[in-house]
Symmetry: C2
DNA sequence: CTGAAAGCGCTTACAG
DNA sequence: CTGAAAGCGCTTACAG
């Protein structure tokens, strides 16, 4: 492995000078710079990054912390898009990205200690939206540069990027109301995620505003649905008093619902209309193309990374800045042409 | 930031001793160990990882190199599953994982130099299956610990993990033949990927073995399909002499085909049967649940990581070991109940 | 069983 | 404009 000393010897200068050439120090003569650089290229020299980190006390790296368990997350294209956004911004700013996940709360603590106290990374992006997240508390205590993708209950001194889920769900619901629906149900995600809670709230707000009744039997969450694997929903669908439209937490879930409807020979959108969230690429390929709220997943990731880098490079950054990424409703067949009764 | 010296002072020992406690050196008395460890915990000490790396000349980190452009890759759940597998194995063995992507060939070179020559990582996992990959050549030259997911043309001194794509495609095609199909088409992926080439080969082998004719008009690749956005395929479907079954490069593509068939009112599987690849979670949620080859994506990632770690920790590892992950055909409606004519 | 010293490959005041 | 020296936070022969 070739080092700064080798270059120095070959160029007939001191290691200090080589180091200064490396950082393009202004008080090094152009001639020396040229000479040293030529030799660097000739010997294919590249500075040892660990050595640089040690003295600069900076790693130019941040970690993406995945909530445990990561299984579900990875199943979703959503996650890939988010990563893509994060990477695009981080590599543009010459930051490396560490991808980390944990399998238990104990591991989480260990991980944070190792990464943060061990000076392994300069900051973290946290993909989490559980209520009462201990990780968040800890990062906040340590005053460690952190961007949360999603919302937390407490007001912390941390940066965050999020969708306005209340508004997004309000918009989705209102769209259905505008299509003439009065009997609308809501199929939520895991009930301890803030995203589920917020979207349910948005749904209720829209229903209230339109002075439509909310039928508790038409509110479900996917914790429940997964166990009973759509049998529950079949029963629900066969009820004579069923909703004519559903707001569904994500496109994958909507696919499952479409499938069940197919089997029961219930037509979408004529008998039951659907609007879901995330607008995955396959949404338009569904047997009935899905209306879906596009939450700008790539943008969410890109902005999170950008915000973190800003925090790391500009000390004046407001410590609890919160960025909301705009969403938009993409209307397709699944919520059109409802036949008014 | 608290260092080994702080611990040493507090414990009344030398920094060397603290370091030895850290690595659980055998010739340190249990009493000293206990004393030092208590203080470490009390002060919440964690060793500076960069300093450790500098002296050990090892980073306990490897990089996942994503082929450029990463866009398509991320669209696919396949990629998420792969990452999940890689992470599961790497975190189990206490390795960190850097996720890197590049946007140009120039960047690729820069990246390799920085990561490899800059001693940023101990090894790389390369997601690539282009023919003639310069990255691969370079890594091979440098004799840098590398695992390729996928196949390359040249025989290199590199480790690799792959699916037997020829066999997988042979199996898919044979399944259709066994269902009574004689007119079978093949919809490939991007034509410069080895995976496309191999699967086409497997398709042809199966057809030949069954002594069925291969109609060149029924062979397409998705480069072509994407531009013409399924209009091409419509024309193709409306031809009187069309195939009764298709082998399709991946589930996403199959969704698009199903959608087109829906529009043209061509029934799946009765009029055209389908078998595709990857078995994404949504495959079973398609309007006609998709028969698909499960290539064990998670396993592919897990094994790649495992192999790399083996190479890094056991110098005796065979340098060009190649692991094939078994595949299996998951049969669903899309390839059943074909009506023999 | 433990300590003093040298060194990993850089950077950066300080001095000239 | 450039060099010698100290130091970043560790590890590890060497010596005792």
């Amino acid at each position: 492995m070739i080092t700064i000393k080798d270059i120095a010897r070959e160029a007939g200068v001191s290691p200090s000078t080589v180091s200064r050439v490396l950082s393009n120090h202004e008080r090094i003569s152009e001639e020396t710079k040229r000479k040293v650089r030529d030799i660097m290229i000739k010997l294919n020299y590249h500075p040892n990054i660990m050595a640089q980190s040690l003295v600069s006390k900076t790693t130019n790296t941040f970690a993406i912390l995945l909530p445990r368990p990561a299984e579900e997350l990875f199943q979703d294209v959503f996650f890939g898009e988010l990563l893509r956004g994060i990477l695009a911004s981080s590599s543009k700013h010459h930051y490396d990205t560490l991808l980390t996940s944990t399998s238990s709360t104990y591991d989480e603590d260990e991980l944070i200690n190792r990464l943060v106290l061990g000076r392994r990374v300069d900051g973290v992006i946290l993909l989490s939206s559980r209520l009462e997240d201990k990780l968040i508390k800890r990062l906040n205590e340590l005053n460690f540069p952190t961007v949360i993708i999603g919302r937390t209950e407490e007001e912390q001194q941390l940066l965050s990027v999020d969708t306005d889920n209340v508004q997004a769900s309000f918009d989705a619901t209102t769209h259905l109301i505008n299509q003439g629906h009065k009997k609308i149900g809501f199929i939520g995600g895991s009930s301890n995620l803030t995203v589920s809670i917020d979207r349910l709230e948005g749904f209720k707000l829209a229903m209230n505003k339109a002075q439509l009744p909310i039928n508790e039997d038409w509110l479900m969450d996917s914790d429940y649905l997964q166990q009973s694997s759509f049998r529950a929903i079949s029963t629900f669908f066969q009820d004579e008093n069923r909703p004519t439209a559903l707001v569904v937490m994500d496109d994958h879930l909507a696919f499952g619902i479409l499938r069940t409807m197919n089997e029961l020979d219930i037509k979408c959108p004529k008998q039951i209309s659907l609007v879901s969230f995330n607008n995955i690429p396959l949404a338009q390929m569904a047997s009935t193309p899905l209306s879906s709220i596009d939450i700008g997943t790539y943008q969410l990731g890109y902005t999170a990374s950008q915000l973190l880098i800003k925090r790391l490079t500009q000390p004046s950054t407001v410590l609890n800045e919160r960025v909301i990424i705009p969403h938009r409703l993409v209307i397709r067949e699944s919520s059109l042409n409802y036949i008014h009764s």
